[in-house]
Amino acid sequence: MNRMNRKRRMKAGALLAAIALAVTACGGNDEAAPPSGSESGGTPAALQLSMMLPSYNPEQMPADSSVLKALEEKTGTKLAVSWVPSSTYTDKLSATVASGELPKTFVALEPKASFIVNAARSGMFWEVGPYLKNYPNLGKMSELVLNNISIDGKIYGVYRERDLARFGLMIRQDWLANLGLQAPKSVDELYAVLKAFATGDPDKNGKQDTIGLAVGMQGNNIAGFKDILVYMGGPNEWELKDGKLVPAHMTPAYLDTLKLYKKLYDEKIINQDFAIVQDGRSVMYKGQAGLWIDNMLDGKGIEDNIKKVDPNAEINLINRIAGPKGDRTRAGSGYLGMYMIPKTSVKTEAELEQILAYFDKVSEKEIQNLMKYGIEGKQYTLENGSYFPNADPKIRAEITDGNQFMILQNQVVNYGTELEQLSTKLFQDNATFAVPNPAAPFISNTEIEKGKELSKIITDATVKFIMGSVDEAEWNEAVEQWLQSGGSKVVEEMNAEYAKLAGE
């Protein structure tokens, strides 16, 4: 009996020990967070830099890419990159910010997204503004763009420079030729060309299976709408009228653009399913549409993709479409996202300076071109000064999304195919007549809280108007609803910010 008891007791003890072990193992997890490799102190070892970047290609840059290796060598940095598809990037970033476990640096594609602004205000990110002047390249960043990315007047990141005005038309040149048409120069000509594309059998297959303009919902924006709005004399997001900021959808030009889109929809000149197409480029790729309006850098990719179904396809770029106010185009912000450095993973100023030094190095001419074109003799060759890209897909894959690493782009050599060179030229031309968004530097707290819900009201009503399920009166009701749900507060706050700036 006694022995049996002891045996039982031992068994119970073993069980308890096992449970205790399991419980402590779980508890330990919470504390296993101290970031590795935050070497405090002055003598910096090789920088270990983890980063989160958006990818714009279905296939990611391989981890053993020779271009990535060259970048690591030249900057003396060990990089650990996690790529996230651009379409879900901002949501993924929001969830990562909420968890508090961020990499040492990441790109914020929308620096004014509410979760970024809130986190910045709570002190989550290093304010890099005061440091920039200590670096030869970063010190040359544009004041204008820095102002645009600022949050409450403070600069929390290093922006990635892009051309200011990159939007334009990518048109099927072969279709124009088939129909004997000239490239459109005005909004009216544009409509005529689109109509001909939809009805004149531009692909000469004897069937009515083409449309004029490819449209999709690009991240909840109707493709091309903002551009045509500006061609028609409308504003870029906000209009400055008599010293007051007015949102684009409350201008008469917006209604004109709405009516034009409705006409295009009714006459089957745009794809009838545009409201459920995530990316309108897919319609272009099928060789069914004649025009795409967006960043002209896409031209090359679109041409390559159409050539898979129609080898004779040819894309041309057009950047000047005249409307009631002459040639106009939409100015971007001059940047595509910014690199931010969270205090949760970069604890010391010394490490911050190391990371900024890396960004500075990336902005040197040599590395700018490395990340744009790859390694000479590998991704491309130069013969008598002309550029020949390597056609081997495996070697080309090594430079996939290389430009995501780039900070400044001011010293990139203009190589590339004819289309790529043309786009660069048109970007420069665009900059001479681009319409900026006058409200870009301002933040409205109501917009931070409710911006997405508010913009949904307008986007939904816009789509419904185009598809004919609401009329002009109901559209005006939607605008009224926007105002009442918080829109009027957004307008008020934006104008207060503007008045503050104008008063200075």
Partner: protein, 317 residues
């Protein structure tokens, strides 16, 4: 009789501490064996619930859980005061009602039909085929639905056009949204739902059927008097459990089906929590919405369970 129960209760409550300790001592090994399970629920289910406190705070990741400012019921006031709330609640309720009305009976019917099959092989093959869709992700299912229903070369619309009808823009209409969503659920989950009923059916004593046949009952009679009563309690328990998730309309599916033209009828709590919580980074507000949803679910489970008991069924607790 009542008196003796009362007396017993008095006795047991008087001697409770020692009786309780005695029982504990007697069954200590059993209790010890229960311990890991209990700990599992405490550590992984109950302990994380402290997280719902952020519904009463303005959660800032950098400030952390404890240092984020306490705001009381602010987020709930915003939720109930929001004109969106009525729309969200209505959409969620209607979709949930569709689900219970049209989807819930379907696995039972299919299970009964499968049960009537004579050939074991046919039964197995059919059973496997109908639950394969369960393993497809919603992205695939919705993709298939899109391909069927789109106006640009979708099979449904091509057929409509061939037979001289008008093309219908199924995917961008308020009228079709709920029908399509419910139909997708039926296609995907019916087969999977049959498994548990088939298991219950296999437990029915074959002698009962034999006896019924002797008495001259045809198949329908057997179904009505033997099969259905045998699985009634299973049906009720599953229904109660389903009510606990009444307001969970499923995020992925709805999110994928939503667009500007059907948002009026399609936006539900789950998608709203996503767009407000994740896209806009209002973690506290979205937690409040989620908490509200759970409370509604809890109330429904309790009410349904009490009703079930009132009608002499077992219930889940």
């Amino acid at each position: 009789m009542p008196k003796s129960i009362a007396a017993q209760a008095a006795v047991s409550s008087a001697s409770r501490p020692s009786a309780w300790a005695g029982r504990l001592a007697r069954n200590r090994w059993l209790y010890l064996m229960v311990l890991p399970g209990l700990l599992y629920f405490l550590v992984f289910k109950y302990w994380p619930m402290y997280g719902i406190f952020i519904a009463f705070k303005d959660f800032q990741p950098f400030l952390g859980f404890w240092d984020s400012p306490f705001v009381g019921l602010k987020h709930f006031e915003r939720l109930f005061g929001d004109p969106n709330f009525v729309v969200l609640f209505r959409n969620t309720l209607i979709l949930a009602a569709y689900n219970i009305l049209f989807f819930f009976p379907l696995p039972i019917i299919v299970a009964l039909m499968l049960n009537e099959l004579r050939q074991e092989l046919t039964k197995r093959v059919v059973q496997t085929l109908v639950y394969i869709p369960h393993f497809m992700s919603w992205v695939v299912v919705v993709g298939i639905a899109y391909m069927f229903l789109t106006t640009e070369g979708g099979i449904m619309n091509e057929l409509l056009a061939r037979f001289g009808g008008e093309k219908i823009n199924f995917l961008v209409s308020n009228e079709w949204f709920r029908t399509i969503v419910t139909a997708e659920v039926m296609w995907k989950e019916t087969g999977w739902g049959t498994i548990i009923f088939l298991a219950a059916l296999s437990g029915v004593d074959p002698q009962l059927y034999e006896a019924a046949r002797m008495d001259g009952a045809n198949r329908l009679r057997q179904l009505w008097h033997i099969t259905l009563p045998a699985i009634r309690s299973t049906i009720i328990i599953l229904l109660i459990l389903r009510l606990g998730h009444f307001l969970d309309t499923g995020f992925e599916q709805i999110f994928l089906m939503l667009n500007a033209m059907n948002r009026e009828v399609g936006e539900v709590f789950d998608t709203y929590v996503y767009s407000v919580g994740i896209s806009q980074g209002q973690y506290s507000f979205s937690t409040a919405v989620g908490l509200f949803k759970s409370i509604v679910g809890l109330i429904l489970v309790v009410v349904a369970n009490n009703l079930a008991k009132k009608f002499g069924e077992e219930g889940i607790y």
